[in-house]
Symmetry: C2
Subunit: 349 residues, 2 copies
Amino acid sequence: MEAPIKTILTGDRPTGPLHLGHYVGSLKNRVQLQHQYRTFVLVADMQALTDNADNPAKVRQNVAEVVMDYLAIGLEPKVVTICLQSMLPELAELMMYYLNLVTVARLQRNPTVKEEYRRILRAPADTPEEELRELEAQVPAGFLCYPVSQAADITAFKAHLVPVGEDQKPMIEQTVEIVRSFNRTYGQDVLVEPEALIPQIARLPGTDGQAKMGKSLGNAIYLSDPADVVAKKIKGMFTDPKHLRVEDPGTVEGNPVFTYLDAFDPDVEKVQGLKDHYRRGGLGDSVVKKRLAEVLESFLSPIRKRREDYAKDPAGVMRLLKEGTDRARETTASTLASVRKAMHLDYWP
Amino acid sequence: MEAPIKTILTGDRPTGPLHLGHYVGSLKNRVQLQHQYRTFVLVADMQALTDNADNPAKVRQNVAEVVMDYLAIGLEPKVVTICLQSMLPELAELMMYYLNLVTVARLQRNPTVKEEYRRILRAPADTPEEELRELEAQVPAGFLCYPVSQAADITAFKAHLVPVGEDQKPMIEQTVEIVRSFNRTYGQDVLVEPEALIPQIARLPGTDGQAKMGKSLGNAIYLSDPADVVAKKIKGMFTDPKHLRVEDPGTVEGNPVFTYLDAFDPDVEKVQGLKDHYRRGGLGDSVVKKRLAEVLESFLSPIRKRREDYAKDPAGVMRLLKEGTDRARETTASTLASVRKAMHLDYWP
């Protein structure tokens, strides 16, 4: 007897092109699992607006870019359903119902949102808690509430699995709480409890050695970067700052060049050899970086090629997105109907 | 040259039958203005859920009750558009966009919401501000955000005027701020700035002399109360507590029996005569109450009669609501389309 097919939901905010951090954190899992699970991929433009309300043109422009990134990395539009958040009105309705099941205090405690606050408000990491609370109240209400919007997205597709980076785990926990509260209040088994699917390497450091790769941090290698840009970024990468001369022993841990090799080099033995040599001393950074440049180029070059093909037909890309959204809507509408029924809101057909 | 017809939006939460306080605060204005303005009357069931999430059956049951109250007081379903909030999905979408234009701090400062907090949390009026802030964080996020939901309702209908009681004035101010922010950010003149229409007698005291008549306060006379219940409630009404003997001079100010006469007795001279006599002394409470009973009975009896007729055909009442909602949706859909266009969210038709 076959087990029933499980559903995956994932998504990204269209605020810029996707980078290697996105790939390692969740895109890789999505590509690998697309034939195994029913997969929905959401371009989260409404969520992008929660901290880009004053620049909707930027969000709109990046919608097609993100879809092209998806297609370029190998998500197959006939296999996965790529869809657009703002064209699925059921998601806004679900959010509105779920807002009544979460206290303001609970949202204020969400660690992912707290970290994002710091970013948006440009607050240094050592800002005192009290000062931070005052600052937090200055963010848009939509931003405070976006974990509830994510819960609407995840539950609308009745997703079992959500491939996310480690930092997004609290968002899934928030969704689980909302699902439990909903099912307890309105009737068992209306909504599905999702699980986070966290990859082994859950977070890629930036090229500057910072813990996280991010567009706003200026330390990202994009999936759409041309070969010469990638080469230049690798050349300038942070390594072990104490590894001054080739003959000195070097440190592999926390050295982003090796983290990238771990994430992208298919030749695990070769990476191990490089690590051993680097630790002993006698291996220059430039040699390790040269290997990384080869590895990334052979990873990125087919992606870049596919992306260029899709970029020639932006109307076709948007057509694929529309078709996916139409398919997705059958699922979101069906979920909303059962939610409304459970809430005694099924007034007329 | 005729001025263009202006639009009114009003509404009520279906959490119980409507009472004289609702009538004085806004229903009277709605009935009187229905032929003069394009009028939408919204049964705000989603708003009712923000503090009744655990009892959706109660909300549902009261939807038909409130519509019957509307019809009973003389709102003409061929003239005004009576519609149901949860069946107008555009309102949830608009709310989601507007949430990005309001800070959390601004919502926390809203005086109407603050007063409601106290009611929901059953906090005494003298609760210290600091303690209250802690308590406030325990309300559902949907409750904190409901002024944004009201802004969605008002702007969806491009309402110029909103007949409300005095205590609801901060809600209209909140909407005006959102409208200005939206038009400034996304393009002039997309949304209409509403104005509050506050009646002369803006708030009816309770039968117990408390400043506000309210269901949860147990001091209300309902539009649907049978004659004997009304008579009993009037008999038990609070008057001037110092007016112990008939021959004593009495106080008219803050005496709810006289406030009710001011609000409902069409014979202004007669009321003036009663006031003078009461002030001089020699006029018993029972005589004034008898006059009030006559006045209220002649006001309520045709309402009660019409209500009984509609109550015989609840399916017909719901049909009227559905027809109104279908009509309303043409307007909310058209507003959402222009909002989405201004926000660069008009991806495909």
